[in-house]
């Protein structure tokens, strides 16, 4: 068993006193895909930057592949690869040059770099545009150039900070299948805003908010923690003042969580009587996330 990541009591305070991470502890002992989800400013990127040895922790113990990130960062860097958030490739290189010369800059011999660059570009669907400069590619393709560059590296851990932002649904699914394949022999530490992505891909899911871990576990286990079976979504401006229910405001509208079939049937009766339009959905991990972030819905 490989000890991939060990974090104990991690605190990161930026200059100005902003606490980005507050007493974060977790351990990852097996490969696969770890999804890190959280709202903007939750501390996801800070955590990735510390694990990828880009910045130092303020306090706490952080080990990656058995090496301390402060004292053994050179050993860590040899065995990791990173796609940074909102990064841009070198625009006047072609995808092939980008991947190939990035591999060479990591010390890979020519033969290996040629083979790995070709394989990686093929996997992310960029082989046909390998000789077109990045400046002439779409935003999604440029993002895939970075993904191809990072995944071409033979590494033990791949840190991908929101790698699928800007990709169309088809390209995103293409990247998912590549990540699944790569994760068979390594660990992929993935941050994402897309709960669906985290749910579909992750073997282990970490939810983070305001610098603290609020949930962690297998997606199926986490789903079992959701107390409510259904959610009823009404329009944002629907008047439900006469109904005795609590609701939360989400992007979708006013959301009422319901525990049982009987409760659902009663609620729907009220809504129909008042002529309100609504949608009924099964709860998902996204709901658990919303409940945790908004501080409600414990089982």
């Amino acid at each position: 068993m490989t000890n991939y990541i060990f974090v104990d009591g991690l605190v990161k305070v930026y200059s100005g006193g902003v606490v980005a991470l507050d007493d974060v502890s977790f351990s990852i002992d097996s490969g696969g895909i770890v999804g890190l989800v959280g709202p903007n400013g939750a501390g996801k990127t800070t955590l990735v930057k510390i694990l990828a040895t880009l910045i130092k922790p303020t306090r706490g113990r952080v080990e990656v592949l058995g090496f301390d990130v402060n004292s053994g960062y050179e050993n860590v860097r040899k065995r990791i690869s990173l796609v940074p958030q909102d990064a841009c490739p070198e625009l006047y290189l072609t995808p092939y040059e980008h991947v190939y010369w990035y591999l060479r800059s990591r010390g890979l011999p020519k033969g290996d770099a040629v083979r790995l660059a070709g394989e990686s570009l093929e996997k992310v669907g960029l082989w046909d545009v390998r000789d077109r400069v990045c400046a002439k590619l779409s935003g999604g393709m440029r993002q895939r150039v970075l993904i191809a560059s990072a995944l071409a590296v033979p590494a033990d851990i791949y840190f991908l900070d929101e790698p699928t932002v800007g990709l169309d649904p088809l390209a995103r699914r293409g990247v998912w299948s590549v990540l699944r394949e790569v994760s068979k022999n390594s660990l992929i530490f993935l941050t994402t805003h897309y709960m669906e992505e985290a749910e579909v891909l992750s073997d282990l899911l970490i939810m983070i908010n305001r610098g603290r871990i609020i949930e962690m576990g297998n997606p199926l286990e986490l789903l079992r923690k959701v107390k409510y079976r259904y959610k009823v979504v009404l329009e944002k401006f629907a008047d439900i003042s006469q109904i005795d229910v609590s609701f939360i405001e989400t992007d979708e509208g006013k959301t009422i969580y319901v525990e049982s079939d009987a409760e659902l049937s009663k609620l729907l009766g009220f809504l129909v009587d008042r002529g309100l339009s609504f949608t009924v959905k099964s709860t998902s991990l996204e709901d658990l996330f919303i409940m945790r972030v908004k501080g409600c819905g414990d089982k």
């Binding site: 990173l82 940074p84 990064a87 841009c88 060479r104 800059s105 010390g107 400069v133």
Partner: protein, 185 residues
Amino acid sequence: MAINRVIGATVFMTRSYLKEPLAFVSDLIIPLIMFMIVHLGTGRGVESLIGILIVIAWSSGSFALARKLGSYKAWRLMDMFIASPLKPIEFAIAAALAHLIIIVLPATIVTVIMILISSINPASLILLIASIIVAWITGITFGLYVYSKLADPFKISSTANLLNLLLIILPPVIYPISILPPAYS
């Protein structure tokens, strides 16, 4: 293995410049116009060309290096290099070498003009190359200093750009101070 990494990173940073020959023209146009004015006006064009070579070498170290590192920081491409076996010193050497390669063409153009308008003996050529190398190393040191002191990538670029422009415009690098009216001298 370290050499392989440096070569890889150097080529990574050089190739994009080599695809844009017009960049060389725009970098050379102001210094060459100044050379023509000085040459036609005072007949001291060779000194002017030597100044241009020094400016090119300095700017490749300072302005270009700082701009490159600044843009990689802004694009967050730098993070991919940090999270890799490439050491910071190797990255800095690669960036410096990349910009040395980039100045080969403009420096050659200037040297050819110099040979055409005057006769250069081998001793002066060696002295000139030594001066270029010193200017380049000083420029690199300055570029790295600017990069390390300024956190904002855009400030890095604009500061280095300003200093480079002053070097071109103000005497005595490209033209001697003696050609200015006495009041300005």
